[in-house]
Symmetry: C2
Subunit: 338 residues, 2 copies
């Protein structure tokens, strides 16, 4: 291939990402200067944070500027390297963005990963998704044996692992919240959660009271908004709320606001956010603990693969409409045969 397809951000989306916010361009494959590496993108991770980065405000990373390629995490194969530590054929993880070829300059960081693991798995259970569940639950949530753990986005990539890991760590009760009956069934029947609430058809407040009769000790939150506000009403003394994400907020212009936050005072409880990039140097610890649990089937996961770079925008929107189960990735190209 001699063409580099790229998807650029040309306007800030309002709500879902519409076609007029993006421009699909074809450019020549980049050539390298000293210290640079050319990576062919194999697979892209689809994450709520992609949408956060499209907003005008900087977040934990600077906002994507107008005219830049859309930022996304992913996995690629080194085609050519003029930097020590990278060789043709190496698999690397980093932030390639929505394009066929990623030129790693001296300012970009990327990590060489071992071969032999399918690209989709490297981006889910053995990548940031599994590691996010691991550190969020264990470092922030710290579930104790017998406690009640509630997970929102329970059928998503992170939530599905967080709930199963809570059970491994001795939680007495694990309750999920998801958006379709099919997802709820998967979460309970295949992943072993005690219950799963369909927030689109059920009364979340009432169902939480039923399924968590002793209150909520740990809430692993991926959605924010009204559901978080209701959980605040039902937390126990000393509860911990893990703020992993707030997907209900990312596409709306004004939050309904958390009205029940004073419950944190009455219950001496804690709400704490985290960003997985802060744990980069400890990824290996998490993967070493997760890998055998995945290998022996204790922790199950699902990856939905969308084929083709051009479908990346649709894939991202599916996160917000909830039309996916487990981790969502976009396959851009195949690894070379070697």
């Amino acid at each position: 291939m001699t063409v580099n397809r790229r998807i650029l951000l040309v306007a800030r989306p309002d709500g879902l990402v519409s076609n007029d916010c993006l421009q699909h361009v074809e450019e020549p494959v980049p050539t390298l200067a000293d210290g640079e590496v050319l990576v062919r993108v194999l697979c892209l991770s689809v994450d709520p944070t992609n949408r956060v980065w499209m907003r005008e405000e900087d977040s934990y990373l600077p906002a994507v500027r107008i005219g830049e390629v859309v930022r996304a995490a992913g996995l690629g194969e080194v085609v050519e390297s003029r930097r020590e530590g990278f060789a043709a054929g190496d698999l690397v993880m980093g932030l390639p963005g929505w394009q066929d070829y990623w030129k790693l300059t001296s300012e970009d960081s990327a990590q060489v990963v071992p071969p032999g693991i399918p690209a989709e798995d490297m981006l889910s259970i053995y990548g940031a998704t599994g590691v996010t569940a691991y550190f969020g639950l264990l470092e922030i949530g710290r579930p104790q044996p017998g406690e009640t753990v509630v997970v929102s986005g329970a059928a998503g990539g992170v939530g599905s692992v967080a709930g199963q890991l809570a059970r491994v760590k001795g939680a007495g009760r694990v309750v999920g919240i998801a958006g379709t009956d099919e997802k709820c069934r998967w979460v309970v029947e295949d992943l072993g959660f005690d219950a799963c609430i369909n927030y689109k058809t059920e009364d979340v407040a009432e169902r939480l009271r039923e399924t968590c009769p002793d209150g909520i000790d740990v809430y692993f939150d991926n959605v924010g908004g009204e559901i978080l506000d209701e959980v605040l009403n039902q937390i126990t003394i000393g509860a911990r709320i893990v703020m992993c994400g707030a997907i209900s907020e990312y596409t709306r212009s004004e939050s309904p606001g958390l009205k029940n936050y004073t419950s944190l005072i009455m219950q001496r409880a804690r709400m704490e956010g985290f960003i997985i990039l802060d744990y980069l140097d400890r990824f290996v610890d998490a993967i070493m603990e997760l890998a055998p649990l995945v290998a022996d089937g204790t922790i199950k996961y699902n990856v939905e693969v969308v084929d083709g770079l051009e479908l990346a925008p649709d894939a991202l929107n599916r996160l917000f409409t909830g039309e996916h189960t487990g981790k969502l990735v976009v396959r851009v190209s195949e690894a070379s045969a070697s």
Copy 2:
């Protein structure tokens, strides 16, 4: 005296505490059974939590029931004791409530305190107020040398001590928020805060940006509401929000809601509540550290004394209208000469 004046809660207040919510009654001074203690109330602490306890919902303590005496912390002198560990003349702290005489039954707890310290001081700097500032700031806020600490309710009993203690612990910048120019002047000129924002006349967002150019590392919050929401916009990475109180919420029926809470994710920050009753067994540690700082004038404080039990309801309302500086107490009677 042979009469026990008591102020009973007869209806739940909406907003400030109005006369028709209370009934002033005169009853005989209680007689004692075995295991009971009769305490003459000297001084009552006026705290926002008194109003919280009047609401229908239980909080960290059960709601005051209709027909019961209004619950309040205070200090009294033992008149007669039929329980081991208490003797006539002892000074005791506990929850006597709005009345002249408190009968301690076997279910009530009270702590004998050393003589020689004025009752007002026992209820402020050497009592729950100083201790609340101490544990909230040091256990939850944990200011590091050089950090920026913001305190709301900065001219109140707790806030005034929290800000000064932050400076003692090496905070680089201490900024208060209060409701009158006079309070702001006291906080800056007498207590040594670097700045104080009058939230009633100034633009809090803009003034926080001016006075905290590097962002807010620790927010010691006594007020909640819109000010907390604005602070969330200006916190640094790893910031800690100490939820000591939310006085702006206690008299309104619906919260405006926190809209900027996702900042906790982006900034990997923490919001945590606490209740001082959880630290009862460590009060002495706090007082041992605060006492010399008060004695040598490093930490200053102010106590406003309201004379007369019948003024307790007015005193409580003044907390919400902001017409007081420092700690507010109600003097009910004088200690005996002995």
